[in-house]
Amino acid sequence: METLSVYVPKLVTNKEYIASGHRACSGCGEVLALRYVCKALGRNTIISNATGCMEIISSPLPETAWEVSWIHTLFENAAAVASGIESGLKALKRKHGYIKDVKVVAMGGDGATADIGLQALSGALERGHDFIYVCFDNEAYMNTGIQRSSETPFGASTTTAPSGKVSMGQHTWKKNMAAIAAAHNIPYVATSCSSYPFDIMYKIEKARKVKGPSYIHILSVCPTGWRCPSSDTIKMGRLAVETGVFPLYEIENGEYKMNFDYPKLRPVEDYLTAQGRFRHLTKEQIAEIQQKVIVEYEKIKMLSSRKKGK
């Protein structure tokens, strides 16, 4: 739990692997989550990054914010490139005396993960490569100007699914990537959120130790796209978790574990009304979202209560 007893300097390494001077928006929750991910990964890491916000804000030739080895090639292939890196290192170890203990990590935004890169991700998970895939989910194509993705939540207004006289904006429910990843029978799946640094670092450290593929889905608050003040980034992520809109849980070898269980969830209204992208929603629509959130939250809770061997 994030409590007053937490004293950051004692708990977190000072070392940064994503340097200052990056061009992320003021108050960016995604780069914040990326900072934690990199801290937890440490130096013995090779990152394959999909095209997207984190790529663009970090690597304008001849500059780079990265202090770990990093490659970007295309939008939809981060997991496939990671497959090649992991296999390449395996061959180098076996044949050419390579001895370094490297963790291969692929990362991308929600579009790169759940839309255009889903096939490459599925292939890499299914083949069992020893790598971590991190999805930084800011719930739309923010890099190109807030276009909807399959991770955009129900009711949100985006530039390609705007709210209008006859539309409430996004009319589909968020794609459940954690369940899709888990359906590949991989050892470790987890959700996290940019407002929970210690949760992110705990899960990344855990994934680092896993042999085989792991998938971490991080809700990353985007003040620009969600239309909220940049100072509210942390608050907004907390609201997502405390309202049950985005529960934090792990799926370890198929076994669910709710990490932050709230006996009484805050009303989703607190979350929705704080963001411009939901401003147009009616009371009825908010009630519909509230109902769905409770159903989904209960589902995870129910799955978490089922223990192996019972």
Partner: protein, 391 residues
């Protein structure tokens, strides 16, 4: 040194070359007529004959993507594809060259869909023409074997560092069992030094690969890539020279066949060249002054060598096994452009033929040359001429 002659399917000959190159990573997705190459490799890996990682990726796009990753950490990397597979892969093909990753790929040249065709022509390669790869066309299994080995040496040379495609005509070359001279491991090891990436992805010496370029940088990055590709010819020539000395099998960017004292030169690329040679033999026997020029190196385009080979002729007839829909045949238009600065230009006529696996036999080639000469005689003005299509 060269071993005794063996019988082998050309696809398996390519697999043998990849094995002799002691490749580290193979990432491939099956597509006809490339399958026998990668099946052969998968079997070698499964049997422990080849110590490599075989990644059975879920698409060609991921095949090339995985190759990028493997090559970027310093692993020797191979893939193979064909037709639609190459087109699906195309987005990644441009990145391999831009990042200067020396992936080697066999392309089993195949026609393109709409009407699905698994059979051979050069349309797939033509769509990948401008992607910054070295392209070497071969005519038979032996050449496919030889050039696959040469491809690794060229690609990974420190002065090149570019991906290389060995273009092998689907079925006409890939699926034929023929005779081969293979090479022993010791000879290959002497010919092919280990692959060393100068700045690989390495946790101890972190690097950033794949920055984006603003308008104030992008143009320079393209010029650098273009110059690297043009300058690769030096290493290509040197590699072929070394290979020739080692094996007695000599290769050139533009190879001439009985062109002395010929008025008319036929230009071909790929497996049909052998049929064309037979046609030339017969035509010369009957007193016709027709010779053959075979284009082996498609990229970097050997302008100098082509001009030298063609400038003395009166007539040049270019066979394109690809159709640039709505435009002139791709090989012919480049040859015309190369000859344009000459004061005394040969008449050049382009003929499209052999699409989607349609044969051009030695007899057909004689007819094709006659058709070309007839068009030149009657004042050909650049209309598209097709050979062997029902009209």
């Amino acid at each position: 040194m060269t071993s005794k002659r063996v019988g082998l399917e050309s696809s398996l000959g390519i697999a043998q070359a990849v094995k002799l190159a002691n490749v580290d990573v193979i990432a491939a997705y099956p597509i006809t007529p490339q399958t026998h190459i990668v099946e052969g490799l998968a079997e070698m890996v499964a049997n422990g004959e080849l110590d490599a990682e075989y990644i059975p990726v879920e698409s060609e796009h991921s095949a090339m993507s995985a190759c990028l990753g493997a090559s970027a950490v310093g692993a020797r990397t191979f893939t193979a594809t064909a037709g639609q597979g190459l087109i699906l892969m195309h987005e990644v093909v441009t990145v391999a060259s831009a990042l200067r990753l020396p992936v080697v790929m066999a392309i089993a040249n195949r026609a393109l869909s709409g009407q699905l065709s698994i059979w051979g022509d050069h349309s797939d390669v033509m769509m990948a023409r401008d992607a910054g790869w070295i392209h070497i066309f071969v005519e038979n299994g032996q050449q496919a074997f030889d050039q696959t080995l040469c491809a690794f040496r060229i690609a990974e040379h420190k002065d090149v560092m570019l991906p290389v495609a060995v273009d092998v005509d689907g079925f006409h070359a890939t699926h034929v069992i023929e005779s081969f001279y293979l090479l022993d491991q010791k000879t290959v090891n002497e010919f092919l030094p280990p692959y060393v990436h100068p700045t690989p992805l390495d946790p101890d010496n972190p690097v950033t690969m794949g920055c984006f370029a603003m308008p104030n940088y992008y143009f320079e990055t393209r010029k650098a890539l273009d110059m690297a590709l043009r300058n690769s010819k030096k290493v290509i020539l040197e590699t072929w020279e070394k290979f020739g000395a080692l094996t007695g099998r000599h290769y050139l960017p533009v190879e001439k066949y009985k062109t002395e004292n010929c008025d008319t030169l036929l230009v071909t690329m790929g497996s049909f060249s052998e049929n064309a040679m037979m046609a030339v033999d017969r035509m010369q026997e009957s007193g016709k002054k027709v010779g053959l020029v075979r284009l082996r190196l498609w990229r970097p385009f050997p302008t100098e060598e082509l001009v030298a080979a063609l400038s003395g002729a009166k007539n040049v007839i270019v066979l394109d096994r690809a159709i640039s829909l709505g435009g002139p045949g791709p090989v012919c238009s480049e040859i015309k452009a190369a000859l344009y600065p000459l004061e005394k230009k040969p008449h050049v006529v382009g003929i499209i033929g052999g699409l989607g696996g349609r044969d051009i036999s030695p007899e057909n080639f004689i007819a094709l040359v006659e058709l070309g000469l007839e068009k030149i005689k009657t004042g050909h003005t650049g209309e598209i001429i097709m050979f062997g299509v029902r009209e």
